[in-house]
């Protein structure tokens, strides 16, 4: 019988005690693994946030916000200025268009009209062109209310000069079209293309376009289908999912193509600037504003509230890490105490083994292996516990922290938790980001956790194993 076989046999000498020990170990190991899973989920989310929206600055023409305001447009040359700012990793130029449906355009006096107003957000300096697409969003109460106020004021449907507030025609919402210099949306987030392909080189003019899922459904389009903008036929290269109804009522073309459609070559509606890390965002914003000039560009950090979200996630990450280490330490302590108890209980047996010629090392290894057998059993049960409990534990941790974050953010005067661009836009709620963290017990994380548990168990078992070296075989005969 080998040392390993003897260790396994010893681990099951007292089955009731073994079951109790395994149960206690399983709880500690399960908790440790669940905390590790939660920690890894949060770490992943923080990295995702830091890599995308959390580090994005938006540059608009000075004096312009959305389709409101005035001032001079940004230029392509300014992207080079922005790119030279320290800690800036990418600059993507955008050119916004508003696509009028043919029905809406028929009531308008011109086919291409520079727009000044329009609620709902989006890059400023938009230019209207006619398309044969039908908007995927019905006007509804909000659309008609906005249209009415627009027609009497700033002419959101292009009725300036000819509009009649009392007899407004049937209103159709415009479609957002944006020329992009890279495969990102207007918030700088990578586009999620669900079918088809991207546009390839986004810096050259091309009659290929990306279209939102709901807009594609509304117009029965798929990859390879065609539609027109300002009389030019475009081919749908791919269909993307922005995750929101508003975001999916949109079209993306290459930047050069949008500039050509608007007949404004070299002109940008906005720039999306990505900074290398969240810690550098404030400094980069200041430097960017100085480089572009405060009279020419407004630099905004639309997702500032995301810092609070990420900060909250960071505390969840820290709590879960501390809890993981504590649970791991507890598992090690349990092993230590159990093995010390077993060594004390088997002093006589250890003495006999030494009397018949066993080396201290052989006996020590036997006890370490016995501890590892118990840990292996505890890990199997613990992993099962973790796979069921990690989601719940992560949710509990995150919801507890998001409540704290929300309270802190509202302040004494209350106020909404939402914010950011467009007030409640696709990234308007930090709480949404917090709750979007999903903790799934991946085999890799569980395996890493089990390796850590075994490492701690070896350390925990070494102490009692070393104690066996101090037992003198003479004690066996003395006990006779």
């Amino acid at each position: 019988m080998s040392v390993l076989a003897r260790s396994v046999g010893n681990a099951f000498r007292n089955k009731i005690r073994t079951a109790a020990v395994v149960a206690v170990l399983a709880v500690a190991i399960g908790l440790a693994l669940a905390m590790l899973v939660a920690n890894q989920a949060v770490v992943g989310k923080v990295q995702e946030l830091n890599a995308s929206v959390g580090t994005v600055l938006t540059v608009n023409p000075a004096g312009a916000q959305g389709f409101d305001g005035g001032g001079e447009p940004l230029t392509t040359a300014q992207t080079a200025t922005a790119a030279a700012v320290p800690n800036v990793v990418s600059v993507v130029g955008m050119k916004a268009l508003r696509l009028q449906t043919e029905t809406a355009a028929s009531s308008s006096t011109t086919g291409t009209t520079t727009q000044q107003a329009g609620p709902g957000g989006g890059p400023g300096g938009g230019t209207s062109v006619v398309t044969n697409l039908q908007a995927a969003i019905d006007a509804g109460t909000l659309g008609n209310r906005n249209n009415t106020s627009g027609s009497t004021g700033t002419g959101s449907t292009g009725t300036t000069g000819t509009g009649n507030a009392g007899t407004a025609p049937a209103f159709s919402l415009p479609i957002t079209a944006t020329g992009i210099g890279a495969e990102v949306d207007t918030a700088g987030k990578a586009l999620n293309i669900t079918s088809g392909t991207g546009l390839g080189d986004y810096t050259v003019a091309s009659t290929k376009a990306l279209i939102g899922t709901t807009l594609a459904e509304k117009n029965s389009l798929k990859a390879g289908s065609t539609f027109t903008i300002a009389g030019t036929t475009f081919t749908v290269a791919g269909i993307f999912d922005a995750g929101t109804t508003f975001g999916n009522n949109a079209v993306y073309t290459t930047l050069a193509e949008a500039q050509a459609l608007a007949a404004t070559p070299g002109e940008l509606s906005s720039m999306v600037v990505t900074v290398n890390s969240m810690e550098n965002v404030d400094a980069a914003k200041t430097a960017l504003q100085a480089a572009l000039g405060s009279g020419k560009a407004d630099v905004t950090q639309g997702q500032r509230n995301l810092q609070t979200a990420v900060s909250s996630l960071d505390s969840v990450k820290n709590i879960s890490l501390v809890a993981f280490i504590a649970a791991l330490g507890t598992a090690g302590l349990i092993i230590l105490l159990i093995m010390v108890m077993l060594v004390r209980e088997r002093r006589r047996e250890i003495g006999v083994l030494k009397a018949i010629g066993a080396r201290n090392r052989t006996i020590g290894v036997q006890f370490v292996l016995e501890a590892l057998v118990l840990v292996a059993l505890g890990s199997v049960v613990g992993a099962a516990i973790a796979s069921f409990a990690s989601g719940g534990i992560a949710s509990a941790l995150i919801s507890s922290n998001s409540t704290t974050a929300a309270t802190n953010q509202r302040g004494p005067g209350g106020g909404g938790f939402g914010g950011g661009l467009g007030g409640g836009g696709p990234f308007g709620g930090a709480s949404q980001l917090l709750t979007s963290v999903t903790a799934s017990a991946s085999p890799g994380v569980i395996a890493a956790g089990v390796v850590a548990v075994f490492g701690v168990a070896v350390v925990g078992a070494l102490v009692p194993a070393l104690l066996t070296a101090r037992i003198r075989p003479i004690e066996v005969l003395r006990g006779e």
């Binding site: 046999g9 006999v352 009397a355 018949i356 080396r359 003479i474 005969l477 006779e480």
Partner: protein
């Protein structure tokens, strides 16, 4: 040959110094069956532990086949116990959750013998000590006292030791089983040419050994030398 030279072991007990072994000297030829008798607390077990390198003497030496134990490091003493000594205890001291054959294989495993070889030898030794073959794979805590002591004797013989030290080997057995055990030790001593030293307080058992020593107040004296029991003509 075992040579014991002026062996002393003393302990401190408060202000007093106790010498359970006080200047013991004797020699045992290879293959001798000898006994040490004495009252409880006379130092018999202490002397046995010194001979088996389980304890270190205050002074004196034990020389086994010309090798002195004095000054040997702990690792060498462990090797000496593994290779040259076999122990038989009053309480048997077998590993309770192992089978008889696994218990006998243990010293051979510690000596690095291959599994197949040690299994074969363990079964052979258990046959020699007359343990029923069907009981060889049984856990030792399911065996009777006499059967356990047979397993313990087989274990003591596992690595073909030069010296077997038996501490009250019949102390936990009934008279008839005890007789069988001492006959077994006698025959093994003869067949394997192994030196066996039995410590006992049972004078009738001691009378069946070739050489008989008495330990009294730490001093050893030889009572008699007689022909081996069952030695025949």
């Amino acid at each position: 040959m075992i040579e014991v030279k002026d062996l002393v072991r003393q302990f401190k007990s408060g202000d007093r110094t106790i010498k359970p072994v006080n200047g013991v000297s004797f020699e045992l030829e290879k293959g001798t069956l000898a006994s040490i008798v004495g009252k409880s607390g006379s130092g018999k077990s202490t002397l046995l532990s010194l001979l088996g390198a389980l304890d270190k003497p205050t002074s004196g030496d034990v020389v086994v086949d010309g090798v002195s134990l004095a000054g040997l490091p702990a690792s060498k003493l462990t090797e000496y116990r593994r290779r040259d000594i076999g122990f038989v205890f009053q309480q048997f001291n077998l590993i309770p959750n192992l089978s008889a054959v696994d218990n006998v294989m243990l010293p051979m495993e510690f000596a690095g013998m291959r599994k197949a070889a040690r299994l074969e030898r363990a079964r052979s030794l258990l046959e020699q000590v007359q343990l029923d073959p069907e009981k060889q794979s049984r856990r030792v805590n399911k065996l009777s006292g006499g059967e356990q002591q047979r397993v313990a004797i087989a274990r003591a013989l596992a690595n073909e030791p030069k010296l077997i030290l038996a501490d009250e080997p019949t102390g936990n057995l009934d008279e008839q089983t005890g007789e069988h055990i001492i006959e077994l030790l006698s025959s093994l001593s003869r067949d394997h040419n192994t030196t066996i030293l039995v410590v006992t307080h049972d004078r009738s058992l001691a009378q069946k050994t070739e050489r008989r020593f008495r330990l009294q107040q730490g001093k050893l004296s030889e009572e008699t030398v007689r022909p081996r029991v069952g030695a025949g003509a």
